[in-house]
């Protein structure tokens, strides 16, 4: 039942059609897209830290020095590694899509306008 999907690649997949370009420089376009995901992930990390701090503070459970000296065990290190794999696939989505658009047949890229008239 639980088919193995390549989630990182599928989640970042390009939608059909030509991707609009907004700036004169495609390099600027690419960098902006990467930067915006970084901004998102920074907000996510900030929110998670805030959740933790509030929970821990409420229970009087940790000290700052414990965070500074924390050493992950093998399982924790593997979980963090997998997180980073997915994280980078998200950040570099636009690069993956550039590559996917090379493989997309030109006929498909040109059809979205035509289809609406059918």
């Amino acid at each position: 039942m639980n088919a193995k999907l390549d989630v990182n690649r599928l989640a970042a997949a390009k939608s059909k059609g030509k991707r609009p370009q907004y700036f004169a420089s495609s390099e600027a376009e690419r960098v902006l897209n990467i930067a915006l995901v970084l901004a998102q992930e920074l907000a996510v990390a900030r929110e998670r830290i805030d959740t933790l701090e509030r929970l821990l503070e409420a229970r009087g459970l940790i000290k700052q020095s414990e965070i500074e000296s924390f050493m992950p065990d093998a399982q924790a290190a593997a979980a963090r590694g997998a997180f980073n794999e997915a994280y980078i696939a998200r950040v570099l989505r636009v690069v993956q899509q550039d590559i996917e658009s090379i493989a997309e047949p030109a006929s498909q890229a040109a059809t979205t306008d035509d289809l609406s008239r059918e």
Binding site: N8, A12, G17, N33, S116, E118
Partner: protein
């Protein structure tokens, strides 16, 4: 100096979790929170700057170039495409839409098997889910990844897949900033309010929802008329499986979810008292739309009402700049029929099909913000600030009634 009350989007975690709603982790919710805030920021803080750029530097230059005011929104668009603020707003809005897809797909595809099993358990042996594996998809569905959803509504990645629907359902609360309510059914609720105001004595027994998707806007009508039988039709099997399971888990049992093309339905003439659609017509095509309206006319019983909700039409009285902004989705959000659909004279099409002017309905419908999500003092501020064109929970309503 007292601070203004917070009037932004609610935290994603207040979204309603029905029986097939995907599991949402802490960071999934945080990603959606960021995207809802981005949409809000782009609409409230950046889009007014785009208008300023038009007023202050683009329009004057265009007037000088043309020697006359622009006559079509195309001229506005071509001039604006060179403006750096418009470029930035557009690029960020597109990127936000793409990130929304990635966020939703990443969380859903990792649990696609579990979601298929949960939906399957709720759907097993139910005659009210009618799938047609032999249905041929219209090309305007098969060839377009609507609003940048890779694979659109219909693509199946495994047996009994519901992932396209779960992704759609999980993300819409972020895209609309909670404006459609905890069940994302604001358009259905707006229909219910429209009926109460415009047809208080109307008690339809047989109701058809066209292009119903996962039934967000089917269930409010089903709950309003518990003695009626509803049919929710769509071409996409993942949406119907998920929608049927969602309805069951929410305790709604008077809806049949059926896979069919609404251009040609397998029901006898006059089969329904009320036929409606929400944000559906713009996802058909130039040839399909009149065919859909023709089918509605055939299926509507004497005395029946039909009603379709869409974003506002581009009428001659609409300012060309507003038309240009409203048309953004056509060029940047994979909505190939958006422009043509919003230019169509629907009353004229209906009259060509034999409706008299007295039978036509042209009206408006709007969702009311949920006070649990938007506290009273924040409501005015939330609604008064700049509009997120194309996403606002206020619609043009077009339809027919008995003269």
């Amino acid at each position: 100096m007292s601070q203004q009350p917070y009037a932004g989007p609610p935290d994603y975690r207040v979204v309603h979790r029905h029986g097939v709603f995907p599991e949402i982790g802490h960071d999934d919710a945080a990603r959606f929170n960021f995207l809802a805030q981005m949409n809000r920021h782009l609409a409230a803080c950046v889009l007014p700057g785009v208008k300023r750029a038009w007023d202050a530097r683009v329009q004057p230059k265009l007037l000088a170039q043309l020697g006359r005011p622009p006559e079509h929104r195309r001229e506005v668009r071509e001039a604006m495409q060179a403006d750096p603020i418009y470029q930035t707003w557009s690029a960020l809005r597109r990127a936000t839409m793409e990130q929304r897809q990635q966020a939703g797909r990443a969380l859903v595809l990792g649990q696609a098997g579990e979601l298929a099993a949960r939906a399957g358990a709720l759907n097993a042996g139910q005659a009210s889910l009618k799938l047609d594996p032999n249905l041929k998809l219209p090309r305007y569905v098969e060839g377009v990844d609507h609003h940048l959803m890779p694979g659109s509504y219909h693509t199946e990645l495994m047996a009994d897949d519901v992932s396209a629907a779960a992704n759609y359902d999980a993300g819409i609360f972020a895209t609309t900033g909670g404006g459609l309510g905890r069940l994302n059914d604001g358009a259905g609720e707006a229909l219910v309010a429209w009926l109460a105001r415009n047809a208080p004595d109307f008690k339809p027994k047989r109701i058809l929802d066209l292009g119903a998707g996962l039934g967000h806007n089917t269930l409010p009508v089903a709950k309003l008329f518990p003695d009626a039988q509803l049919t929710a039709v769509d071409v996409a099997a993942p949406m119907l499986r998920y929608g049927h399971a969602r309805a069951r888990s929410l305790g709604v049992n008077n809806v049949t979810f059926a896979q069919a093309n609404v251009e040609a339905l397998d029901f006898p003439d006059h089969s329904f008292d009320f036929i409606y659609s929400t944000m559906f017509l713009h996802e058909t095509s130039f040839k399909a739309l009149p065919q859909v309206l023709k089918e509605v006319k055939r299926l509507l019983a004497p005395g029946g009402i039909s009603l379709h909700l869409e974003q506002p039409q581009y009428t001659e009285s609409m300012d060309l700049y507003e038309q240009f902004i409203r048309d953004w989705d056509a060029f940047n959000n994979n909505e190939p029929f958006w422009t043509t659909m919003h230019e169509l004279n629907l009353p004229k099409i209906a009259q060509a099909l034999g409706h008299t002017p007295a039978e036509l309905i042209e009206s408006g419908a709007a969702a009311v913000l949920d006070p649990a999500l938007f506290p009273a003092q924040a409501q005015a501020q939330a609604t008064a600030s700049s509009e997120d064109y194309g996403r606002k929970a206020a619609w043009y309503a077009f339809g027919t009634k008995a003269a």
